[in-house]
Symmetry: C2
Subunit: 204 residues, 2 copies
């Protein structure tokens, strides 16, 4: 009986279906794919296209968007450093749940801090976390600015904007790096798809 | 642009894969199954057996246990009324995510309050929530007491224990009611399985 059970009468129950059984049925390994990068670097575009292509190839795949959870699971959280960290922690918990259910779970959000990305990696099963650096220079992202966010940040209408008024810590050793200023969207997606497929076929 | 996006630059992105596509591939409808009832009424036993049987029938199914999430997603929460409500809200959010990904999502937890169960129903897609009342008299549950929790509650070592020192509000119109004091485990699981299968075949 663990500490929580001792104090509260909370006993976890265990599914009788193992991860191995789910993977065997789905004919694929499962893991978490984190797309990190500056605003307008191309994360969401690549994530949605990657999900579509994997689904069309018969894979069990889902997209857990850091922004979408803000409207549901994390609707109680604000944007203080503590709340941002808690937001990432919850995304990590749900990503783990989804990967343990046999999905390739794609998550896309800025996640500017190395220590937060490290936390996400540590929350995942060993060897089942793919960090993808969606890399474009800030000048390129700012020139794209499809949502007008960089302009708003320059005008001080958005505070602590990553890349302008808040730091982005580039990954030091990501599993994949996609230079979206040098590649088309199709090329970027194809590059990432190739890597993901090699991982999910591993052993199947 | 919604309010959150206005203030924060948070824009939700949308998966390009619809629920209909996932259901079509999985050959099943998906929904949330909530098992509610007193401690030791049989929720966890029935939930794990139901998941196993559905999986063996080729269904896409998962078990989201109210106690398990206490150790992960809700590890920041205590047992105050506010925290209990937040716990249920997060379980509901994750259940919705899972059902929207094509799963039959079984959730098992006491959930003693009608208004909380109503909230869970409202969080689910219309017509995709099955409330299952695992019903046994408190005297029967107390006689079972496999974890010694009723004894601990009688000795005041656990406070606010549902059925002893905290109220349980029975469902008024559950989709299914399983009287576990009158049925064996096998009979209980078979009864629920029959209902769930009728729902997930609907239209497939």
């Amino acid at each position: 009986m663990n500490e929580v059970a001792n104090k509260t009468g909370i006993f976890p129950i265990c599914s009788k279906i193992s991860l191995e059984e789910r993977e065997f049925r789905n004919h694929q390994r499962c893991f978490v794919v984190l797309l990190t990068g500056l605003p307008a670097s191309g994360k969401s575009t690549i994530a949605t296209e990657l999900e579509r292509k994997l689904f069309d190839l018969g894979k069990h795949v889902c997209l857990l968007d850091g922004d979408n959870v803000r409207h549901g699971l994390c609707s109680d959280l604000g944007f203080s450093p503590e709340d941002r960290k808690e937001n990432i922690r919850r995304v990590g918990e749900v990503a783990r749940i989804l990967a343990n259910l046999g999905f390739i779970c794609i998550t896309a959000f800025i996640s500017p801090c190395r220590k937060d990305r490290k936390m996400l990696r540590q929350m995942s099963l060993q060897g089942r976390f793919i960090e993808v650096f969606i890399n474009a220079p800030v000048a390129v992202c700012e020139a794209r600015d499809p949502k007008g966010l960089y302009a708003a940040a320059r005008a001080n209408r958005i505070k602590d904007f990553t890349g302008i008024s808040a730091p982005y810590e580039p990954p030091l050793s990501p599993e994949v790096e996609i230079p979206t200023h040098k590649l088309t969207v199709s090329e970027s997606v194809a590059m990432l798809l190739k890597h993901v497929l090699s991982q999910c076929r591993n052993g199947f």
